[in-house]
Symmetry: C2
Subunit: 139 residues, 2 copies
DNA sequence: GTCGTTGCAAAGATTTTGCAGCGGC
DNA sequence: GCCGCTGCAAAATCTTTGCAACGAC
């Protein structure tokens, strides 16, 4: 009989969770590490990574899938959607009621048990758009 | 007056594009590198990365945003959606007509110029589900 | 012939891991 | 007191880059 190992709430884990919940910029592990260091100056980056993994498995946070190659995290676990800038990879929330209808054929995903979905809009943010207009080379 | 530099179609670039188009598994750069090496044994991984970047900028391929931390690429640039397994990160296509309605409030994304959207469903594939049932520790 | 591209190898960036001591429960 | 967790540092993984030779146009 397998059993799930106990998970302890350490000071580090609690502060990582609190800090992520107060941060609405969908930070990378490293960005969050620097924020947490203001409260816990001796915490290590490895601990931040390990806790983000654990908290994600516990369902207390979400690992975003849109980091431009880098992982990003979200302390808001309510269903919501995101816009992302193709150039600077900034990620912002979309109000929940902006997406009015989303109907999915139920047998479309046979072979998978669904856990949820994420909808990403890709665009150019105004700041990058201005830069782009100044120099074509950016692409 | 800035001008866009000329882009050449080299043998390497063409074969990378052809190989990606024939691959429906949304490969990582490294997976594609090993496939391309069957045709071009001396190609380097750096060349594969550089060309994937270039082809993405040319709009001939798509960089997927769902790689579990690693970048994945798709030779199919038609609008379509994906299912991904949370555990093995496998990505599969969803038939285009499976998502019947998707209505977005137009002013929801002010501050961004929209380029497109991607819809990801997250689930557990049958193979990982079986493994998970055998040993709870998986997570 | 020009200049974008390649292979190679080294560097850079990001994430994971081994380990001995620490500290929740 | 047990055993999960931490800090540290090293390792592993993934991606980018400098450079001289090459090759598309």
């Amino acid at each position: 009989m397998p059993h799930r190992r106990q998970v302890r709430m350490t000071k580090q884990r609690q502060i990582i969770l609190d800090t992520l919940r107060k941060t609405c910029t969908h930070p990378t592990a490293d960005e969050l590490y620097h924020k947490v260091r203001k409260t816990l100056p001796h915490i290590s980056l490895g601990t931040v990574y390990r806790n983000l993994e654990t908290l994600n498995n516990m369902g207390l946070i979400t690992r975003l899938l849109f980091g431009g190659g880098q992982m990003r995290f979200d302390g808001n676990i309510e269903t919501h959607h995101h816009v992302s800038c193709r150039y600077c990879n900034r990620i912002e929330d979309i109000p929940e009621d902006a997406v009015t209808t989303l109907a999915i054929s139920p047998d479309a995903m046979e072979g998978f048990s669904m856990l949820g979905h994420e909808l990403y809009f890709v665009g150019i943010c105004n700041s990058c758009k201005e830069k782009k207009e100044q120099r074509v080379e950016m692409r």
